[in-house]
């Protein structure tokens, strides 16, 4: 890390900076803090004027209600499974691709990296309908006609057509698109990370008798662990936050994720804000923990991505 850009200056500037920092903290944390305060208030207190800032009679009732009204624990499990699954697969794929793009002599690797990064401008919204139909089950292009032809020839063990499996309301329906959604940024981060690892280390390992793949797993992988953690956190946050695809693909109550589940607490006309606040508070706890423990990692990971991009 480079030293902070500005040296300390005259007191006037110092006060401005101090004030700015306070404003920044308020700006970033106030909405979440207000949610936290709201979640401890009773519904009566919320609809009482003038509004109170701190809960008069702090209650945990809302947190109980979150779990009673909807299977919120199940939403948490679903979100965790989907996000962790997508993160693991995504980091694995991105690490393999990033290594190839950073190290191996392949013509047009810059073009490939650009193409991969460019796919991040492809809106999730546009993927929604085609992926929905793919996940319901469509005849696989090329494969299905071939199988049907063989079936017609009298190969009875061949099915008449070959459809893609019905993945709706399974974890895979979300993991597959989430991997693709996070792949561009994680590939970018890991590519720039691999470029920072000195090539000599690998060469030394090959001299000592390791194969290329062996060197990849024994030398490069451990050294790139910090980069993978960063990429993993970003993939996890992306997956935990995704809303639209989760809303459309997994409609069964016991397969919903947290962001979708939280919208279920709104009634047709009423917004039970206390319960919603409690639900959101629970939903952002994992993210807050990640931020608290890994803030430097996240920022340096985005540095790598930003500098290369």
């Amino acid at each position: 890390m480079t030293a902070a850009a500005r040296p300390r200056r005259q007191p006037a500037g110092y006060v401005v900076v101090r004030l700015g920092l306070v404003l920044m903290v308020v700006n970033g944390l106030f909405p979440a803090a207000w949610l936290l305060l709201t979640s401890f208030k009773s519904e009566d207190e919320l609809t009482h004027l003038p509004i109170t800032y701190f809960p008069q009679h702090a209650t945990l009732h809302n947190y109980v209600a979150v779990f009673q009204q909807n299977p919120f624990a199940r939403f948490l499990v679903n979100s965790t499974v989907v996000s962790l699954g997508a993160t693991l697969v995504c980091v694995l794929f991105a690490a393999l691709a990033g290594y190839a793009l950073a190290r191996l002599h392949l013509t047009g690797r810059r073009a490939i990296l650009t193409a991969i990064v460019m796919t991040s401008m492809f809106p999730a919204l546009v993927m929604m309908v085609p992926l929905y139909r793919l996940f319901v089950g469509v005849p696989l292009p090329l494969l299905s006609p071939l199988v049907g032809y063989l079936h017609a020839l009298g190969w009875g063990f061949m099915p008449a057509s070959l459809n893609s499996p019905n993945l709706l309301n399974t974890y895979w329906a979300l993991i597959i698109p989430y991997v693709a959604l996070s792949l561009p940024i994680t590939t970018l981060i890991l590519t720039s990370f691999f470029q920072l690892i000195p090539e000599d280390l690998e060469a030394a390992a090959t001299v000592d008798g390791a194969t290329r793949v062996g060197a990849l797993f024994r030398v490069v992988a451990p050294l790139s662990a910090p980069g993978m953690v960063t990429a993993g956190i970003i993939a996890f946050v992306n997956s935990w936050n995704e809303f639209l695809l989760a809303l459309t693909f997994n409609t069964a109550m016991n397969m919903r994720t947290v962001p979708v589940g939280i919208t279920l607490y709104q009634g047709q006309f009423a917004f039970p804000w206390a319960v919603i606040s409690a639900a959101i508070t629970i939903g952002i706890v994992p993210l807050v923990l990640l931020i608290l423990f890994f803030q430097q990692r996240i920022i340096s990971g985005l540095t790598a991505g930003g500098v290369k991009g």
């Binding site: 902070a4 850009a5 500005r6 900076v17 920092l21 920044m24 903290v25 700006n27 970033g28 944390l29 909405p31 979440a32 207000w34 709201t38 919320l46 794929f93 393999l96 691709a97 190839a100 793009l101 191996l104 002599h105 392949l106 690797r109 991969i116 991040s120 492809f122 999730a124 919204l125 546009v126 309908v129 085609p130 992926l131 139909r133 793919l134 597959i176 991997v179 693709a180 792949l183 793949v213 946050v237 936050n241 809303f243 639209l244 962001p259 919208t263 917004f271 939903g283 952002i284 993210l287 931020i291 608290l292 803030q295 920022i299 985005l302 540095t303 991505g305 930003g306 500098v307 991009g309």
Partner: protein
């Protein structure tokens, strides 16, 4: 003459042999390693894109299966973009258009100062003239109609959100980045405050701000009331709702812009500042002559990603007002979602293509800007 046993001529080991021995050539290994990522992207990105392109040329309503899926060429786009009996009015959306046209002198200035390539400047000026000078002034005269008023409504609200939220996120994000880079005991707290909006799901941000902007029991109107302003019904009236949603989007996205800019700040060599101090440069001069020029690549990256996500704005308006009141916040994203929900698949695909072309156009403009630097 005794000949030694015939030896097989040397053949370089084939792909499978090399694979078994873990001794692939570089291109072979590279392709193997790239395969999982590229396959995933092909299934999840490429396949839907091609499908959508194909569907946009067809009529398809899932609630009217008896009408089949006939090929109708560009009819979907005609219905969306065309119009009959249109009149042009100088006053329609004049404030937005004046704002847009005000970029022309800035463009001319930038072109003369060689901040922009000539071609880029001309292209941008042409787009601005077309959009702000002509298109946004169009409205149907008596007896005429937009062929799809909802599309133009969603298009203009999306443009508005892009303009406001990209500029807003930059203007808020830059100070955030500068502050997060200051050495202080509060730095970790500042960084948590910078990261939280980034990590917070957009839906949560939307719901949270809907609660803050709640007209009766929300904290915003309470604070306004304390300083003697009677706050509006934020999410029930058009103008306040647009403002509230934009504030939310700026809050949510400024931290991403701030993070990218912070990354850029950290890559600036500290010795430059020391040299500038020795030369007697004030802090404002240091910012203007060192920080800002060196930050340009990061600014470009941040603006590209922010603009691309702004085009796709969906979660926050959807969570806050479901695109309401009325259709005032029905962005292109929300419109596509609603069209899909109405099972009008062909038309939704055509809308998606427009969204995609818009993203592509903006990316190309930005990329040209970066590469000419």
């Amino acid at each position: 003459m005794a000949r030694s046993a015939p030896t097989t001529p040397y053949r370089p080991p084939g792909f499978w042999r090399r694979l078994r021995q873990g001794n692939l050539t570089d291109p072979q290994l590279a392709v193997m390693l790239l395969l999982p990522a590229l396959l995933t992207l092909a299934v999840v990105m490429l396949y839907p894109m091609l499908t959508v392109l194909w569907q946009s040329l067809h009529f398809q309503r899932l609630n009217e299966p008896f009408r089949g899926t006939p090929f109708i060429g560009l009819r979907n786009f005609q219905r969306m973009l065309g119009g009959e009996g249109l009149r042009w009015s100088a006053v329609k959306l004049w404030w937005l258009r004046v704002l847009g046209l005000a970029t022309l002198p800035a463009l001319a200035w930038a072109a003369r100062r060689r901040l922009l390539g000539k071609g880029t400047a001309v292209a941008l000026a042409a787009v601005a003239l077309l959009v702000f000078g002509l298109l946004l002034g169009l409205q149907p005269g008596p007896g005429g109609r937009w062929t799809d008023a909802r599309f133009w409504n969603s298009f203009s609200i999306t443009l508005l959100i892009i303009a406001v939220s990209v500029a807003g996120a930059f203007l808020v994000g830059l100070p955030l980045a500068l502050l997060a880079n200051v050495r202080s005991r509060m730095r970790w707290l500042g960084r948590v405050a910078l990261l939280l909006p980034w990590a917070m799901p957009r839906v949560f941000a939307g719901l949270t701000f809907a609660w803050l902007f709640q007209s009766q029991y929300g904290v915003v109107n309470d604070v306004l009331g304390r300083i003697g302003i009677h706050g509006p019904l934020w999410l029930a009236r058009v103008a306040p709702a647009v403002a509230a949603v934009n504030v939310t989007i700026v809050w949510k996205t400024s931290s991403f812009v701030g993070l990218i800019l912070l990354a850029g700040l950290q890559s600036i060599d500290a010795s430059l500042y020391e040299a500038a101090v020795v030369d007697g440069a004030g802090s404002w001069q240091r910012f203007w002559h060192i920080t800002l020029p060196l930050l340009r690549p990061s600014i470009a990256v941040a603006l590209i990603f922010r603009t691309l996500t702004a085009i796709q704005t969906f979660d926050i308006p959807f969570a806050m007002t479901r695109g309401g009141p009325g259709r005032s916040l029905e962005t292109l994203g929300v419109y596509i979602y609603n069209t899909t929900l109405a099972l009008n698949i062909g038309y939704a695909a055509a809308l998606s293509v427009v969204l995609f072309v818009l993203s592509l156009g903006i990316t190309v403009v930005y990329l040209r800007w970066i590469y000419t630097e």
